[in-house]
Amino acid sequence: EAGVTQFPSHSVIEKGQTVTLRCDPISGHDNLYWYRRVMGKEIKFLLHFVKESKQDESGMPNNRFLAERTGGTYSTLKVQPAELEDSGVYFCASSPASFPYEQYFGPGTRLTVT
């Protein structure tokens, strides 16, 4: 069974540009999560989808971030326009259902904004 995949693995963009990150969850997993780790800090929750609906987006930093999950399959996280403080590693995780199911993580996308 394929794990959670993320694309791209690395992205380097200039301040003010737009970047879209993609996450493909494990097949059949209705729950999809985005997390972010800024250098030297904790991994922090961004948002949670159940199928195509946003269950919780309380961790989204501001309105420059837009997450979608069309059809309840893959998800995209768009940053527009990117700022320097958006640099970090963006992780996606999926689970078959919510608690108490374990979340399975992808390898992350390292975003560098210059």
Partner: protein, 114 residues
Amino acid sequence: ELKVEQNPLFLSMQEGKNYTIYCNYSTTSDRLYWYRQDPGKSLESLFVLLSNGAVKQEGRLMASLDTKARLSTLHITAAVHDLSATYFCALVVLSGAGSYQLTFGKGTKLSVIP
């Protein structure tokens, strides 16, 4: 707000030695995870601890949970180079929006020196 403090953040140890990583947290949680991350790879779940006094062991790693002290430990016995990685503790938290999300410590970067 739940706070998770992990220490040490960096640990350099010789092969064959023992050491302990500590994870303190500020409020109650239903479960605690320990993850391992190798550079550029996914977070791999090592242990899930559910109740007070829980102890789990896998190879040279042993995790324990003391819910009264709000403390979990990850003990490394007779370290080998293959254990070099970053280790995270994370707690499951129910958000105000009804989403079970993970709250992470900052991670402990372990380097085992031959």
